[in-house]
C-alpha cells in the first residue's frame, strides 16, 4: 500500500471538511497529494447538524467558493432545503443556509476525491509525524509504516483522544461509532506542542416513522432557492421542509432529574464547551425562568428517515433523553435511533501557528480545522483550503497568502485564531468582522476570485464570467450617472412608489439612492440592458444587486473604507520576527508573556491580543522606533 521511496508534496491527515478541501486544493494546484482517513466511507461527514451555511458561516462558504473550494458546489448539488437568512436586514448580513442530504454530500465529496488528478485517498491511522532539523519529512502510520512528504496538513477534527459521554457512560471514539485517533497528540506534545481539551455535543437522532409531524409547524425553505456557488446555475433538487416544535415544562422536569448523572454537571467532563451552542440541560440551568425552548426537526437525508433535533444537544443518560423527548408535542412516540452525546477531544491552541496555518515550531507542518479549536464545517473547510494554498505556495517558494480582516471572513477567522486565546470551540459571527458592511456574501467573488484564479483553483470559464460581471458593474455604474430619463415617465414611477416627484430631470444614480426605488421598479425607463425585463439571468441579477447595494449604501461603505484606511497603518506596521520581548523592560509582564506566545506579525495584530493595554502598544511602538 505504501511506497516508502515515494515523496509526496502534500500529505493531508483526516478527510473531514478541512482535509477534503485541503487535499483537493493541493492536488488541483498540481501537487502530488495523499489524503489519509481512518475510514474511507465517512469522508466529509456531517457529524452534527445536517446543514451547511447559516449566519456568518454562509459568508465563509461563499468565500471558499470564490477561492476555488468545493463546499459551495457540493451543497448546491445535495441541498434539500435552501434559505437566505436575515433577509429582513441589510444585505451585509444576509446569509445562505441549506439543509444537506448528508449521505449524498459525503458521497459526492468521495467522488471528487477519487476522480481528482494528483490525489490518492488512503485508509490509515496516522500516529505521528517525522521530522529532521525541525522540518517535516513525513508521517508515521499505526501499522508502523512511514510515508514521506514535503509538507503535512493535520486536520484531525474531534478524533484526537476523542472521548464520548452519554450520562456517566463514556467510551473512546472519534465520533459516534468510529475509532479515536491515538498517539498523534502525544507525538506532537513530545515535539514541543501544547495541547488542551475542548468539548462539544450533539442531539439525539429520531426515527421519522415515529414522529407525528401534524403536531408541528412546517418550516419550508425559500420558494426560489439561492445557490451557494457562483458556478451553480440553478437548484434543481427536490426540496423538503423542517418542522418546529418545543419543549414543555414536563420535559424540563425530566431532564433536570437526570442532572445528577450528567457528565457535564458531575465534573466528569473537563473540556470547555461552546457558549453559543449549549446543551439543553445547560440552557435549563442557566435560564431557569424559560418555560419552553424551540426545537427544529431537520431531515438528515432523503435516503434514510432520520431526523436531527436541533436545540436538543445533550449528554444526559439515555433513559432521561428518551423519557424527556416523549413529552414534546409530536414526539410522544418518538424512537431515538442514536442518542445525543458529548465528546471531548484534544486541540492545539492556534497561537502556535503562523498566519499561514503553518506551525511555528515545525516547518512545513500545518494545522487546520477543529484541531485548532474551531467548530463548524465551514470554519474547517476555510482553514483546510488556506493551509493547502499556503503549503503549496511555500513549496514553490512563493509569497504566503494571508487575507486581511478587511478582505474576508476567512481573514477574520485566521487572525482571531492565531491572536486570541481559544477558551471554547470558535465559531464565526458577523459581529466578529469589524468591516461587516464590506464583507458581504454577495461580493465574495469581487473580493477573492482574482486570488482563486491566480492559484489555478478556479475553472477558466467561471473566472471569465466573473470578469465579465465585474466589467458590467463598472460600466453600468457610470451609465447610471449619465442617464437622465424623461421627467414625466420618471415622475409617474416615483408617484407609484410614494416618493417625492422631481422638478427637473435627474440621473438614475441619484434616483436609486432613494430607499423606495429599486432597479426592477425602473423597468423600461431607459434603453439600457439594465431595464430590459427580458434580460433576466443569474449574471444580470447579480449585476443589478451589486449596483443597488453600492449605490444605496455608498455613504456607509465609504465610511468602512475610511476605517480600514485608518487602521491600515497599524496593520502594515510589521514587527520583526526575532524580537525579544523580555528585553522590553517597560512592558507589563502580562503583555510580555502574551506577545511572546502569540508573536504578533503586526502592531494591528498585537493590539487585538487580550490583556494587552494601549500603553503596552505605545511601549512596543517606542521600542520598535529605537
Amino acid at each position: 500500500m505504501i511506497d516508502s521511496n515515494k515523496i509526496y508534496d502534500v500529505i493531508v491527515v483526516g478527510a473531514g471538511h478541512a482535509g477534503c478541501e485541503a487535499a483537493l486544493a493541493a492536488a488541483r494546484m498540481g501537487m502530488k497529494t495523499v489524503l489519509f482517513t481512518i475510514n474511507m466511507s465517512t469522508v466529509a461527514k456531517m457529524s452534527c447538524n445536517p446543514a451547511i451555511g447559516g449566519l456568518a458561516k454562509g459568508h465563509l462558504v461563499r468565500e471558499i467558493d470564490a477561492l476555488g473550494g468545493v463546499m459551495g458546489t457540493i451543497i448546491d448539488e445535495t441541498g434539500i432545503q435552501f434559505r437566505m437568512l436575515n433577509k429582513s436586514k441589510g444585505p451585509a448580513v444576509w446569509s445562505p443556509r441549506a439543509q444537506a442530504d448528508k449521505i449524498e454530500y459525503s458521497e459526492r465529496m468521495l467522488h471528487l476525491l477519487e476522480t481528482q488528478k494528483n490525489l490518492e485517498l488512503k485508509q490509515a491511522m496516522v500516529t505521528g509525524v517525522t521530522i529532521e532539523n525541525d522540518k517535516i519529512t513525513g508521517v508515521k502510520l499505526f501499522t508502523g509504516s512511514e510515508v514521506r512528504g514535503k509538507s503535512v496538513i493535520l486536520t484531525a477534527g474531534t478524533f484526537l483522544n476523542g472521548l464520548i459521554h452519554i450520562g456517566l457512560f463514556s467510551y473512546s471514539a472519534g465520533r459516534d461509532g468510529e475509532f479515536a485517533a491515538k498517539g498523534l497528540t502525544e507525538n506532537l506534545v513530545s515535539l514541543g506542542f501544547k495541547s488542551e481539551r475542548l468539548k462539544t455535543g450533539t442531539p439525539p437522532r429520531l426515527d421519522g416513522n415515529s414522529i407525528d409531524f401534524d403536531k408541528m409547524t412546517v418550516q419550508p425553505g425559500d420558494a426560489k432557492p439561492q445557490p451557494f456557488s457562483y458556478q451553480t446555475k440553478a437548484i434543481n433538487r427536490k426540496q423538503v421542509p423542517c418542522y418546529l416544535t418545543n419543549t414543555v415544562e414536563q420535559t424540563h422536569k425530566i431532564l433536570l432529574s437526570g442532572l445528577n448523572r450528567s457528565p457535564l454537571y458531575s465534573g466528569k467532563i473537563i473540556g470547555t464547551g461552546p457558549r453559543y451552542c449549549p446543551s439543553i440541560e445547560t440552557k435549563l440551568v442557566r435560564f431557569a425562568d424559560k418555560t419552553s425552548h424551540q426545537l427544529y426537526l431537520e431531515p438528515e437525508s432523503l435516503r434514510n428517515n432520520e431526523y436531527y433535533v436541533n436545540g436538543y444537544s445533550t449528554s444526559l443518560p439515555e433513559d432521561i433523553q428518551w423519557k424527556a423527548i416523549r413529552t414534546i408535542p409530536g414526539l410522544e412516540k418518538a424512537e431515538i435511533t442514536r442518542p445525543g452525546y458529548a465528546i471531548e477531544y484534544d486541540f492545539f491552541p492556534p497561537s502556535q501557528l503562523r498566519p499561514t496555518l503553518e506551525t511555528k515550531y515545525i516547518e512545513n507542518l500545518y494545522f487546520a480545522g477543529q484541531i485548532n479549536g474551531t467548530s463548524g464545517y465551514e470554519e474547517a473547510a476555510a482553514q483546510g483550503l488556506m493551509a493547502a494554498i499556503n503549503a503549496v505556495l511555500k513549496l514553490h517558494q512563493q509569497e504566503p497568502f494571508i487575507l486581511a480582516r478587511s478582505q474576508a471572513y476567512i481573514g477574520v477567522l485566521i487572525d482571531d485564531l492565531i491572536t486570541k486565546e481559544i477558551t471554547e470551540p470558535y465559531r464565526m459571527f458577523t459581529s466578529l468582522a469589524e468591516y461587516r458592511l464590506l464583507l458581504r456574501q454577495d461580493n465574495a467573488d469581487m473580493r477573492l476570485m482574482d486570488y482563486g484564479n491566480s492559484f489555478g483553483l478556479l475553472d477558466k470559464e467561471v473566472y471569465e464570467q466573473f470578469c465579465e460581471k465585474r466589467k458590467l458593474i463598472k460600466d453600468y455604474y457610470e451609465d447610471l450617472q449619465q442617464i437622465r430619463p424623461d421627467l414625466n415617465a420618471m415622475n409617474q414611477i416615483l408617484e407609484g412608489q410614494n416618493t417625492s416627484q422631481l422638478k427637473e430631470k435627474e440621473n438614475l444614480y441619484k434616483i436609486l439612492k432613494r430607499p423606495e426605488i429599486t432597479l426592477d421598479k425602473l423597468n423600461g425607463i431607459a434603453e439600457h440592458p439594465l431595464f430590459e425585463s427580458n434580460n433576466d439571468n443569474r449574471l444580470m441579477d447579480q449585476v443589478r444587486q451589486q449596483l443597488e447595494i453600492e449605490i444605496k449604501y455608498e455613504g456607509y461603505l465609504a465610511r468602512q473604507n475610511q476605517q480600514i484606511e485608518r487602521f491600515s497603518k497599524m496593520e502594515n506596521h510589521i514587527i520583526p520576527e526575532k524580537i525579544d520581548y523580555s528585553k522590553i523592560k517597560s512592558l507589563s509582564s502580562e503583555a510580555k508573556e502574551k506577545f511572546d506566545q502569540v508573536r504578533p506579525r503586526s502592531i494591528g495584530q498585537a493590539s487585538r491580543i487580550a490583556g494587552v493595554s494601549p500603553a503596552d502598544i505605545s511601549v512596543l511602538l517606542i521600542y520598535l522606533k529605537k
Partner: protein, 468 residues
C-alpha cells in the same frame, strides 16, 4: 501624553516648587538610585543598608564637604511610585541648597528628569493608567483646593468608573443590535426600536452631561478670568489689593498710576481667579495711557467676570456711563458676568445710584471700602456665586472633565451616538447602526481602553439564552 523610551537611566529632579520655602525635596528614581545615595549620604546612625519605607537623618556630602543636613526616604522597587527604586531627599529650603544637591546627584550618575518623567515612568511601568497619569500631572499643577479635590478623584479612578459605566451601557445597547444579526434564528425576543432609542438617548444625555462639565472643569483647573475696570482713580488697584490682602499693585493718589494690565491670581474658597487690574478708562492723549486703555478693551473680551468699580464719593460721569453700556452689551452678546462695585463708602456720598442702569438690569451691586475692607467679604461671596452661575454649576460629588483630550473623545463618542440615533430613525437595519455604536465605543476606548468583539459576544451569552 507623549511617551518616550527610557532604559536603565536613573533620573533626578527637584520635586518641590521653585522658590523660597521651608523645605525642598529632591527625588531620584531608577536602578542606580541606591548606588548614588550611598556615595553622597551618610546616616547619623551608621546604617549599613537603607530599608524600604524608612526615613533616615544624616548629612549630604559633595566629596568631603557637608552640603546640608537632610532626611532620606527610601522606597524599594516595585513598591514605589514609578515601581523603580526611589529615594526622596528632604533638605532645607531655598533654591541654592536644593540645586547644589541635585548637581551632586547628577555628577554621581543620574540624569536630569524631563518634566513629568516620574509620572510617565509610573504609567509605562503599569503603575497607573492613562487617565490617572493625566490626573497626577494636573495635581502637580493644580493651584487651589477644589482643583486638588478633582485631581484626587480622578486618581482614584472616578472618571474611569463613570466612563466604564457608560461603556457598559453601550455594550448592552450594541448587544441588542448584534443579537438581531447573529442570533436572528434564535428563540429570543428582540428589543423594539423605540425602546432602543430611549436607551440610546439616555446614554447620550449622560455623555453630554460629562461634556458640559468640561467648562466647569476648565474653570476649576485654569481659573476664571476676572477683570477689574472703571474710570481713573475709583480705587481699582486698592480693591484688588484688598482682595489679595497684600500690597502688590502700585497704588498712589495720582490718577493713571496703573498704566499696564496687571495679572494676579486669587484664591476664593478654592476657586482660582486670574485677576486683571487695568488702567483706568479715560479720554487721554498720553500714548502710554492710550496703549493701556487699548489693552484693557482687549482683555474685557476674554474675561468671564467683570468688576466695574464706581466711586461713591463722586457723581456719575460720561465715562462711567460709557463703560456701563459697553459691559452691558458684552453681557448680552457673550454672557459676560458683571458685578458692580461702589467703592470708597468710607467717604461722603455723591453718587446718584438711581441713575445706574445696573439697578434695573438686576446686576448685583456691592458696596465696599478698599481702605477699611468694608464689603470685601460680600464681594468675595458674590465672586464665588457668579463663578458657578449658569452652566458652570458644580457639585462636589460630580465627576468633572478637565482634560481637553477627554472632552474631545467624549464629543466624538456623542457624535457617533447621535448618528446612530439618526440611522435608527431612518429604518436602516442594525448592522448600519452598529457601525456608529462601534465608533462610539472606540472613542471611549481612547480614554479607558478598547472594547473587543469578544466583549460584546460575552455580554450576549451572559444575558440571552442562545443555542437552538
Amino acid at each position: 501624553m507623549v511617551i518616550t523610551p527610557h532604559n536603565d537611566d536613573t533620573i533626578a529632579a527637584i520635586a518641590t516648587p521653585i522658590g523660597t520655602g521651608g523645605l525642598a525635596i529632591i527625588r531620584i528614581s531608577g536602578s542606580k538610585t541606591l548606588e548614588i545615595v550611598d556615595k553622597i549620604f551618610k546616616s547619623k546612625h551608621d546604617t549599613d543598608e537603607l530599608k524600604s519605607w524608612h526615613i533616615y537623618l544624616g548629612n549630604l556630602f559633595d566629596k568631603k564637604d557637608i552640603i546640608d543636613e537632610v532626611t532620606v526616604s527610601f522606597y524599594r522597587s516595585p513598591r514605589s511610585y514609578t515601581t523603580e527604586d526611589i529615594v526622596e531627599i528632604g533638605c532645607h529650603g531655598g533654591i541654592f541648597v536644593a540645586r547644589r544637591i541635585l548637581d551632586v546627584i547628577l555628577e554621581n550618575g543620574a540624569r536630569l528628569a524631563e518634566p513629568g518623567e516620574f509620572t510617565k515612568r509610573a504609567f509605562i511601568n503599569g503603575r497607573i493608567d492613562l487617565s490617572q497619569a493625566e490626573a497626577v500631572a494636573d495635581l502637580i499643577h493644580s493651584k487651589t483646593e477644589i482643583s486638588r479635590n478633582i485631581s484626587l478623584k480622578h486618581m482614584e479612578g472616578q472618571l474611569y468608573e463613570k466612563i466604564e459605566r457608560i461603556r457598559n451601557e453601550l455594550i448592552d445597547i450594541l448587544s441588542l443590535l448584534e443579537i438581531e444579526l447573529d442570533f436572528s434564528e434564535e428563540d429570543i425576543e428582540f428589543v423594539e426600536r423605540e425602546n432602543f432609542i430611549i436607551k440610546l438617548n439616555h446614554t447620550i444625555e449622560e455623555i453630554e452631561h460629562l461634556i458640559n462639565s468640561y467648562s466647569t472643569g476648565k474653570i476649576i483647573k485654569e481659573g476664571i478670568n476676572l477683570i477689574i475696570i472703571g474710570k481713573r482713580n475709583v480705587g481699582k488697584s486698592s480693591l484688588l489689593n484688598a482682595l489679595l490682602r497684600e500690597d502688590r499693585a502700585i497704588v498712589t493718589e495720582i490718577p493713571g498710576t496703573t498704566r499696564d494690565v496687571l495679572e494676579e491670581q486669587l484664591d476664593i474658597k478654592g476657586i482660582l481667579f486670574n485677576v486683571i487690574d487695568t488702567a483706568g478708562i479715560a479720554e487721554t492723549d498720553d500714548p502710554v495711557e492710550k496703549e493701556g486703555i487699548k489693552r484693557t478693551h482687549g482683555k474685557i473680551e476674554r474675561a468671564n467676570i467683570v468688576i466695574h468699580v464706581l466711586d461713591f464719593s463722586n457723581t456719575l460721569t460720561k465715562e462711567d456711563q460709557s463703560i456701563i453700556s459697553k459691559v452691558e452689551s458684552l453681557s448680552n452678546q457673550k454672557g459676560l458676568k458683571i458685578i458692580s462695585v461702589i467703592n470708597k463708602i468710607d467717604l461722603d456720598k455723591k453718587i446718584e445710584i438711581e441713575k445706574i442702569s445696573y439697578f434695573e438690569n438686576n446686576i448685583p451691586i456691592v458696596r465696599t471700602s478698599a481702605k477699611t475692607f468694608a464689603g470685601i467679604d460680600d464681594l468675595e461671596d458674590m465672586l464665588y456665586q457668579k463663578a458657578f452661575e449658569g452652566e458652570n454649576k458644580y457639585n462636589t460629588s460630580d465627576v468633572i472633565i478637565t482634560k481637553k483630550r477627554h472632552v474631545e473623545a467624549l464629543k466624538k463618542c456623542s457624535g457617533s451616538l447621535k448618528r446612530a440615533l439618526k440611522t435608527s430613525q431612518t429604518g436602516l437595519s442594525s448592522e448600519f447602526i452598529s457601525v456608529d455604536l462601534r465608533e462610539a465605543l472606540d472613542s471611549l476606548g481612547e480614554i479607558i481602553g478598547i472594547v473587543t468583539n469578544e466583549d460584546i459576544l460575552k455580554n450576549i451569552f451572559e444575558k440571552f439564552c442562545i443555542g437552538k
